[in-house]
């Protein structure tokens, strides 16, 4: 049976209280707080984090290391890719070190992209591809006009699901697609911010009928009633609308409707249903039926059946851990700066396309070298061993993404949109050291011995390119 083998979630550390937005903009606060991407994060970097979360959760659940070489396909679904031209998925594939023959593509533009990608992943595996699995990544950092309702409603986040034939947590039993040319949210080439129109119209003539059609179609196709479903997981731009839809489609919103995480995280676009699904799976019982439905240019829904394997997913890192690590962002101006609405959060620095291309193994795949003559490690890579002098006798050495701070500082000199800039020398598990910036950390929490993880971030925009590399961040969930 093809189904979901693992999930990974990623929610940025900062939460901007809707009160803070309301105070700054004169709007009415809609309650709770929204997740805000750090200045060095975009939809791609959050997607990378979600992939590693997924990989680590798979390894935790089944005791088998995740192997990117087993992936037949990778889909990156986003309405806010950092690239308008060029795939973000190819960066992801490089970081994960996937086979070059795998199907790797972006699915851009619609909030339903993640569901479409899930359907394509399931399809790819059903067709009998020799590979075992496919990865679906859904991530959004959507831009809403300052002081708009969407600004309060939106949130940033990412999720990834590993779709496989073996070691399945929840099998896919049915899938329904409803295509429609209905613009609920859109963004033209020249628009910096997401556009929408009269809320009553798009809800009554778009969201409710299209989603209802998909849900009804799915129940009919599977030959089950709404009451047979344990949890209904739907994308919704606001919580009230999800309740309306559940009622309309014959579900009990009190008992069946899953938390859309809108109050605590926000409308994370493509990521939202997956984040919600991950939270549901963490508590699911074998045999339960789940419906997952996405929206955008129509609607799309899947019926899942939880398997006996679900018990193995117990120790997985998921939504609760990411909700727990939140830090308040107390300045609305800082939020605007992180998103380049005021000032510039990034900068131009020397870079070279040729250099970045040549060093992909080192910089994207975190691969150093080990001298075969004397065993000395080196990162960054070098040809001549500094210990024994052997020339060109190196083998690849993959660095771990986990480590411990050997020493550190909080630097107030370097220009940084979230000062001070923390830096650390980090001793990595299994050998090697990296000296890098530390992000998502309260400077008071920096200390020798702090457990950290490496996270893929944007360092700057030299040569009009996002220059991605690794930073450390405090280990999540410890």
């Amino acid at each position: 049976m093809v189904g979901i083998s693992a999930f990974g979630v990623y929610v940025p550390a900062y939460r901007l209280s809707r009160e803070v937005i309301a105070q700054a903009t004169g709007a009415r606060a809609s309650g709770g707080g929204r997740a805000v991407a750090q200045y060095d994060e975009d939809a791609l970097t959050m997607g990378v984090d979600a992939c590693w979360e997924c990989a680590d959760n798979y390894a935790r659940s089944f005791g088998i290391p995740f192997a990117a070489t087993n992936l037949a396909a990778l889909f990156f679904a986003s309405a806010s890719s950092p690239y308008r031209e060029k795939h973000a998925s190819s960066v992801l594939a490089a970081v994960l070190d996937m086979n070059r023959s795998a199907l790797v593509t972006d699915i851009n533009g619609s909030l339903r992209g993640g569901m479409t990608a899930l359907g394509m992943a399931v399809g790819a595996l059903k067709e009998g591809s020799p590979a075992d699995a496919a990865l679906v990544v859904a991530s959004d950092r959507r831009m809403a006009a300052p002081a708009s309702g969407e600004e309060q409603a939106f949130g940033d986040g990412a999720a990834a699901v590993l779709v496989g034939r073996e070691n399945v947590l929840a099998g896919v039993e049915a899938h329904v697609v409803v295509n429609a040319n209905f613009p609920h949210f859109w963004r033209r080439e020249q628009d910096p911010y997401v556009q929408t129109t009269d809320a009553r119209f798009v809800e009554d003539y778009g969201y409710i009928p299209l989603m209802n059609e998909a849900l009804k179609g799915l129940l009919k196709k599977a030959g089950i009633a709404a009451g047979d479903v344990a949890k209904l997981i739907v994308y919704a731009p606001n919580a009230r609308l999800a309740v309306r839809l559940a009622r309309k489609a014959g579900f009990n919103p009190e008992t069946q409707l899953a938390d859309g995480l809108l109050k605590s995280i926000g409308d994370t676009g493509n990521a939202q249903v997956f984040l919600s699904l991950a939270a549901v799976l963490a508590k699911a019982k074998p045999g339960e039926r789940l419906i997952v439905a996405g929206y955008g240019d129509g609607a799309e829904a899947f019926l899942l059946r939880v398997t006996e394997n679900i018990g193995k997913a117990e120790g997985c890192r998921g939504v609760p851990e990411f909700l727990k690590r939140q830090r308040p962002l107390t300045s609305y101006a800082k939020y605007l700066n992180f998103r380049d609405v005021i000032g510039e959060s990034s900068y131009d620095a020397f870079t070279s396309m040729a250099l970045l291309w040549r060093e992909e193994k080192q910089n994207m795949k975190l691969t150093g070298v080990k001298c075969t003559a004397c065993g000395t490690l080196a990162f960054p890579r070098r040809r001549v061993c500094h210990h024994c002098g052997a020339k060109d006798q190196m083998e690849d050495f993959k660095l771990s993404r986990r480590g411990r701070v050997y020493t550190y500082t909080n630097d107030y000199l370097y220009l940084n949109p979230d000062p001070p800039e923390s830096l650390a020398a980090v001793d990595l598990e299994g050998g090697g050291r990296i000296f890098c910036q530390v992000t998502d950390v309260n400077p008071q929490d920096m200390r020798i011995g702090l457990d950290v993880e490496l996270s893929f971030r944007k360092l700057h925009d030299g040569q009009e390119l996002p220059n991605y590399f690794w930073k450390a961040r405090p280990a999540i969930g410890r």
Partner: protein, 394 residues
């Protein structure tokens, strides 16, 4: 390999501008002022007697000059002679002088000039400190600044040896006091421990007053073979030892690098001590100028230069050993901290001070019976170091 210079070398003249914010002077003006002062001190005529020059300037381009030898030829009218640009971060000046020494020792030239100069303030107050934001490898080590490296050393030093900011602050207080006795120093005011502890962070645990300030300045030295020196200046100073060691800026990625001691300094010091026959530097060196870009750096230098055992450098400052009047005064002119640190100039500025001490021209800050002095520069995140041992000629 003998590890010693072919023929002994002497310094016959030194010059130094006031260090500070020279908004009224150009890069070339500073070169002219330092060089002509050194020539006058040496009793040589620049255009007639000096045959070759080594220019130490880390980044002439930040002051509108090109990174080549010509700006020196242009400023001094030193035309159609060899001029070599040396650039080795904060160890630039001492390396320029080292090369000038090797040149006269070889016999190819009788008289050579070394000039160290940096014009930092024309490019903004934090220009050079921040240059690695825009320069260098686009990803590896991005975000590291000079203070962030030494601040990381300080945190580890605190962790290992249990000292705190108060001990570091004493280095700043000492060097500022020395600066008040030094007419050419950038900062000539006393500061208190409280001032240091209260001043704003640069990089925790280092504050503004734990750090040297960006400034402009130039220093120059004239060298010749020791056997010819007395013909120019009977009060010449002997170059007893020179060591220079270059490591890697990627040491911060080395699992074995402890952020507590620097092999580049240890190695350069060993080279210089062997040439000079120094076996116990703590007792055989009478005064030293060392690289105190930050207060912690001076303490680490004490250990690497052999003035104190590993982990005990901090005791020298606590016990007053390195203050004027102590057993081994260090940074008698105020050091980088108070005298200032225009990068390329610093190494030769140190030699200027050591020379003045050995010639008993150091005025209020004169160290009694100073017969042997040391100058030490450290470049980058302990990526390179130069050490010179100088001696009186009698």
């Amino acid at each position: 390999m003998s590890g010693v210079m072919k023929e002994p070398v002497a310094i016959i003249g030194v010059g130094c501008t006031k260090f500070g914010e020279h908004f009224t002077k150009s890069w070339g003006d500073l070169v002219v002022d330092a060089t002509f002062e050194a020539c006058a001190d040496a009793g040589v005529e620049l255009h007639k007697e000096v045959e070759a020059a080594w220019l130490g300037s880390y980044r002439p381009w930040i002051a509108g000059e090109r990174n080549i030898g010509s700006p020196l030829a242009e400023a001094l009218g030193f035309l159609y002679k060899p001029v070599t640009l040396i650039s080795n971060i904060c160890a630039t000046g001492i390396d320029a002088l080292r090369n000038a020494c090797l040149a006269v020792s070889s016999g190819m030239y009788d008289v050579a000039l070394a000039v160290g100069v940096e014009k930092m303030r024309d490019a903004g107050s934090r220009s050079l400190m921040l240059a690695n934001r825009t320069d260098g490898h686009p990803l590896i080590g991005k975000g590291r600044t000079a203070p962030s490296f030494f601040a990381s050393c300080a945190h580890r030093y605190f962790h290992e040896y249990g000292i705190g900011r108060e001990t570091l602050a004493k280095v700043a207080v000492k060097n500022h006091h020395h600066g008040t006795l030094s007419p050419k120093a950038n900062m000539q005011r006393e500061i208190t421990l409280k001032d240091v502890l209260k001043s704003p962070w640069v990089a925790e645990p280092l504050s503004v007053l734990d750090s040297t300030a960006s400034c402009d300045g130039a220093a120059a030295a004239i060298v010749t073979r020791a056997d010819m020196a007395k013909n120019f200046n009977p009060d010449f100073v002997k170059v007893a030892g020179i060591g220079f060691a270059v490591g890697t800026e990627r040491n911060i990625f080395e699992p074995g690098f402890d952020f507590l001691n620097f092999k580049v300094t240890q190695t350069a010091a060993r080279m210089a001590y062997e040439q000079a026959g120094v076996k116990d530097p703590r007792r055989e060196i009478d005064m030293a100028e060392c690289h105190d870009c930050f207060t912690i750096t001076e303490i680490l230098n004490y250990e690497d230069l052999g003035f104190a055992p590993k982990g005990q450098g901090w005791k020298l400052i606590e016990e007053g050993v390195t203050s004027l009047g102590g057993e081994l005064p260090v940074n008698t002119d105020g050091g980088l901290k108070a005298f200032g640190h225009p990068l390329g100039a610093s190494g030769i500025r140190m030699v200027y001070e050591v020379t003045q001490q050995l010639q008993e021209k150091a005025g209020k800050r004169q160290v009694k019976n100073a017969r042997r002095g040391l100058a030490h520069c450290l470049g980058g995140p302990a990526a390179m170091a130069g050490v010179m041992v100088l001696e009186r000629n009698d």
